[in-house]
Symmetry: C2
Subunit: 492 residues, 2 copies
Amino acid sequence: MSKGLPKRSEDYSLWYNELVKKADLAENSPVRGCMVIKPYGFSIWEKMQAEIDRMFKETGHVNAYFPLFIPKSYLSKEADHVEGFAKECAVVTHYRLMNDPDGKGVVVDPDAKLEEELIVRPTSETVIWNTYKNWVQSYRDLPLLINQWANVVRWEMRTRLFLRTAEFLWQEGHTAHATKQEAIDESVQMMNVYAEFAENFMAMPVVKGMKSESERFAGAVETYCIEALMQDGKALQAGTSHFLGQNFAKAFDVKFTNKEGVQDFVWGTSWGVSTRLIGALIMAHSDDQGLVLPPKLAPIQVVIVPIYKGEEQLQTISDKVAELTKGLKAKGISVKFDNRDTYKPGFKFAEWELKGVPVRLAIGPKDLENNSVEIARRDTGEKELFSLENSLADKVEALLEEIQNSIYQKAFNFRAENTTEVDTYDDFKKVIDGQGGFVSAHWDGTTETEDKIKTETKATIRCIPLDRKEEAGVCIYSGKPSAGRVLFAKAY
Amino acid sequence: MSKGLPKRSEDYSLWYNELVKKADLAENSPVRGCMVIKPYGFSIWEKMQAEIDRMFKETGHVNAYFPLFIPKSYLSKEADHVEGFAKECAVVTHYRLMNDPDGKGVVVDPDAKLEEELIVRPTSETVIWNTYKNWVQSYRDLPLLINQWANVVRWEMRTRLFLRTAEFLWQEGHTAHATKQEAIDESVQMMNVYAEFAENFMAMPVVKGMKSESERFAGAVETYCIEALMQDGKALQAGTSHFLGQNFAKAFDVKFTNKEGVQDFVWGTSWGVSTRLIGALIMAHSDDQGLVLPPKLAPIQVVIVPIYKGEEQLQTISDKVAELTKGLKAKGISVKFDNRDTYKPGFKFAEWELKGVPVRLAIGPKDLENNSVEIARRDTGEKELFSLENSLADKVEALLEEIQNSIYQKAFNFRAENTTEVDTYDDFKKVIDGQGGFVSAHWDGTTETEDKIKTETKATIRCIPLDRKEEAGVCIYSGKPSAGRVLFAKAY
């Protein structure tokens, strides 16, 4: 702890990497591109999962589980899909090892070669639509509203803890519908679920929008997304929801008989968020002292540190703490009493600051005398002496809510300050290379222009905001007509 | 539904397979040996997971996540371990596909060959102990009490839904301790946690014991297990907990400095249960009409079927059902109102019977008149007319508890009737080939005898029960001295 973190202003990227490691969230594994999610990091994921899963179930979805492996030939059935994923697939070719004839460890048994290679799922549309074929005959079998929590593998060459790893954890929803409109409504609904989760739980404001053609999911007709802004002015795609049209139904021959007795292909959607959200959470709020976690996702919401000399004082403080903890827990607040005798209070303060616990209570002999406790909030660093004449549980409950809102507001203000409207390409480049952030500009709607802007500035179209106003204008690059502004940014 | 199930007495194995499919629990996928766990089956797994995870956390464990892939060389580091797992490993050799030069789909890109092949984890001791090396320096870093929920792959040649599949879902706990005794206590504790889960939630009595040397986990010093008896008289290993000694610490050089300042290797345990438990649950209780689920793990505890003619009657019944449902849900009872208008009551009765819903309520116009409801319990088939003058919620709550206990008692009695003490090899063979079940017999303690008995009878030593009495005797096979009886059975 004493070593401290690099400052965000000096090296944001290094700050992020060090923070992830020092706060015990995750570390690189010796397996190329794969990470170990450590218990503290995983407990944040568990809190995220619990909320997201609840929201899925409230919107009528159920969970299931499909195979890790996908026969190579399945990938080829949807042309865009194979184009998008073939270049980063882990391929299983054998099913047995044998003793090395040279006596050194084990080698692949050449006799145990698979007839058809299997790929480790990079996403499960193909294996799931191949299954849906047998589940759907009539409109009565629809909709299928299924989600799975799973690991997926994409062989990325440049990886970064949480943000981009070869293996990651995610959920992938795969739904099948009788009509086009129902499938579109489903994709929009799930984008809204993601936005609600990001804003209400992660305290992270997001822009809801559609992807341009070149940023669309491989195999989708339309990709809806939520985009967030990080503190370094780069955007991060936090969740996507795809309207698949009938693409996968056609690729896997999934037909149904509608109410009129006519056969048609089924309409599909898929949608996912991943452990990448943990990276977003870290980058959206944390500071040079460490993590800042929104109370709704903090594994520990309140830490209590005793200030004492000798066993006897500790005992008296512990009795008081037991009483206070009971009141806090009765309100569903998670509390940790850090009574380790191997560390000093200052060390503990720094550790819990680094780990982003929203509220810290400190109690010493003087507090016992005065019937008080020191309350410190992580996000602002503010401290106050609180009299235990009043209800600590009520106070902390209100404070946690205030912190949750305050963190959101701070991120919201940051985004407002870092969203710039520009009308010329010169201004565009100035902002992109300067303060960064979201740049709102007119675009002619062509992939050609988008590509040129990307090549010249590294900025991409993050989304076409759903709430953009109809506003005639001219493309900043080509001068051709545009029907409204889109959001550009450099992105993770 | 109308087609019905095969009878257990005629073809137990076919009955099981058909039941798994017809009750919508799981199906085989086109990927060899892998299954699709369907939503209804998965919801049972979710209920199991929630309880088991709660029990782990109550005993001080936390969750984490380690990589899916294990470098081939790691396996070789523990001699017994590689011997046990090398023959059934899925091996990743390449990381990219490319367009087939012949224009047909995709092929493996020969230029994208991995320097070292990766195996898909069959279990994670090696990758986890390799990580622990960096986490442990001093006794202060111990114990590590970590669990992970994950998928694993063992390339089984003969697979069976839930019982034995190439990919399966499980949890694997991996703990590290400063002393031998603490590690042994941990392994015993986790065996007890599994036994408690099996008996209190699955309503499945189990024998706690130790494995003989030849049945031990590859790399363990001692394997503790829980063994259950299925209705066909075969045993099923439902969970194992391994005391690993210092084997993996030595293989991966995991040392710590103890309180006295002396370096020593760390002591380890690992323990797991898997989706196999769903197979055990099915086989322990279900009957020729379908699943019989213990209320504590039933995704739906109560189904309500309306008996009506016309929209108006349905409306009146629905109003009554809404009122009753509210009372049931207030007690935490999960209820489904099956108001599908595409199926007749008889069809619905058969479907929910097949799916093992513990309690079925039926309400028709006559019931409305008499202010009553018909209650049917799945396990015994008993029906009663219940007057709504009394509290339905209280009644159902008590009934669910009674069903839970009754299912357990039935399985307990079955096991008692099918556990036989024998003192001669002739009697042993007679029982093993006849009624089956557990056979309690003296054994001389040698692998040689165990192997011979296995070859001649297909029966294996399921465990050396922890509560066996000290009883001098002679081995049924060799006539050599024995210190107590062990349990034999044919097993899944």
